[in-house]
């Protein structure tokens, strides 16, 4: 049974790589590994934390859970282990490079432990971030999916601030922005677009929601970043983080209009935009590049919305 499942998953992964392009896959993986090594060089627990967040989120949102449980009632947990092991490979590789051999043990423990966690059905409405703009359904949805993990990340950021570990707080901030961003990448429901009077109106509302909601989502994280070493310079870094995270969210919102169907293209663009966000948050000069991308994408999105409205 394990062979059957592994063969199927390998086949799907190969076809996915073929669809994206082998070269693009190598680039994506290399960028991920380089970024991870750059940010977690001496702090392997951050890599472990990121793996834990990824694998727990996947475990609770698996769309194939019923399918696997029905077809493999006795062995489905082993199949989960295979998946979580496959995801762990780049993380283990990074940990081995960064001398985090002890943390490899924790990752291996997670691979076995997470499948044992029962998947719970929650009959009540999940809470979202408070004070979000009215009508910003993308952000409210993202909050409902992300809030428990956001709380964990915030706790980590607070610990980072307490022990004055700037790198940890920065990594947590980037993870928060990256996860919020990917949750914003919803497929466009064309019937929603008809509620807008014009493309300009839609763009204006999206911009307003983005800057308000980014402040709500990012403020607690940025307070932790400021508390690491309170100074005017640090305040500037926090502001840069806020502005760039807002622009990143805005770019992704516009991306949904530009690539409404092309999921793979959107994924590649997402990765490039995330890299641009990291660069511009670290080196303020890149903020202008980010701003230019926002302007171009907004223009393209406006045309797409106009086409949908016509």
């Amino acid at each position: 049974m394990l062979n059957l499942y592994i063969k199927l998953r390998l086949k799907t992964i190969c076809r996915l790589c073929k669809a994206i392009g082998v070269f693009a896959c190598v680039i994506i993986l290399a960028v991920f590994i380089v970024l991870m090594i750059a940010f977690t060089r001496n702090l392997p627990y951050q890599t472990t934390l990121l793996y834990a967040v990824v694998v727990i989120m996947l475990h609770f949102s698996r769309p194939d859970a019923t399918f696997l449980q029905t077809h493999f009632p006795a062995t489905f947990k082993r199949l989960y282990i295979i998946d979580y092991l496959a995801i762990a490979i780049p993380f283990i590789f990074i940990l081995l490079i960064t001398n985090g051999i002890l943390y490899v043990g924790i990752v291996l423990l997670l691979i076995v432990a997470v499948p044992q966690i029962p998947r719970i059905n929650l009959p009540f409405q999940l809470p979202t971030f408070p004070l979000l703009s009215d009508g910003s359904y993308e952000y409210q949805r993202a909050g409902r999916l992300f809030l428990p993990f956001y709380a964990l990340l915030l706790l980590t950021a607070a610990i980072g601030a307490y022990i004055a570990n700037k790198n940890l707080v920065i990594v947590v901030n980037i993870i928060t922005v990256a996860i919020t961003g990917i949750l914003l990448c919803l497929k466009i429901n064309r019937t929603y677009i008809f509620n807008y009077v014009s493309a300009n109106h839609a763009i204006k509302i999206k911009c307003k929601h983005t800057f308000v909601n980014a402040a709500i989502i990012m403020t607690p994280m940025l307070v932790c970043l400021l508390l690491v070493s309170p100074s005017w310079l640090q305040t500037g870094i926090c502001l840069s983080f806020y502005v760039n995270s807002s622009m990143f969210f805005l770019q992704l919102i516009m991306l949904r209009f530009i690539c409404p169907e092309q999921d793979l293209t959107a994924l590649l663009v997402y990765i490039v935009l995330l890299c641009l966000f990291v660069l511009s948050a670290m080196i303020p000069l890149f903020t202008f590049a980010s701003l230019s991308v926002v302007a171009i994408m907004t223009f393209r999105a406006r045309s797409s919305i106009n086409k949908m409205l016509c």
């Binding site: 049974m1 059957l4 199927l8 998953r9 086949k11 799907t12 076809r15 996915l16 669809a19 769309p63 194939d64 019923t66 399918f67 449980q69 029905t70 077809h71 493999f72 009632p73 029962p118 059905n121 929650l122 009959p123 009540f124």
Partner: protein
Amino acid sequence: MLEINNLSKKYSGKTVLENICYKFESGKIYGIMGENGAGKSTLFRCIMRLEKFDGSISASPSQKIGYLSDTPFFYSFVTGMEYIEFCLKASNLPIDKQKITALNEKFALPLERYATSYSMGMKKRLMIMTLMLQDYDLVVLDEPFNGLDLAGVILLKQWIRQMKEEGKCVVLSSHIISSLTDICDDISYIHKGRTVANFTGKSAEEIEMEISKFYLGLTSN
């Protein structure tokens, strides 16, 4: 064939199913009706042991139970044929390509295409076709008519009747009362997690009137 005794299910303290009792016998078709959230899908998930529950469900260990979920799921980049082959291998059944091709003459599915690119009706047809190939003793079908196209509905009804003739058992849920009265030997109604009525032998109009009047308060003046 399968007996459910005092089955109860709670989610975070909220009762979803309460003291459900059923006895499903071979050679019969059982229909279960109920509003959204009444507990039908949860009952089916309990039968399939996908959920933990209080009470008991007894079935003979050699009995093969098939399940059609209300939401189709297919892995990306897997063709319709590969999906069928995967399910057959998972059930330890041989892959008979001729049988699959012969069955697909009725279902008319593009099995060489990725299943995720199918329309909703085609996805449902693929799931039903796969169930048909697996030779179950009892099948649990959760909202099988939802999203199914005309040809699919006809094929499904034919298959359900054939299952009955072969002495097998079918348990299904639906919102379409006439679909159930057409094919079911026994029709029960789940309301707020409890089996509150049995409409066996009644017409679709009578059932609709009774549910509207006694359970939903939707009677028109």
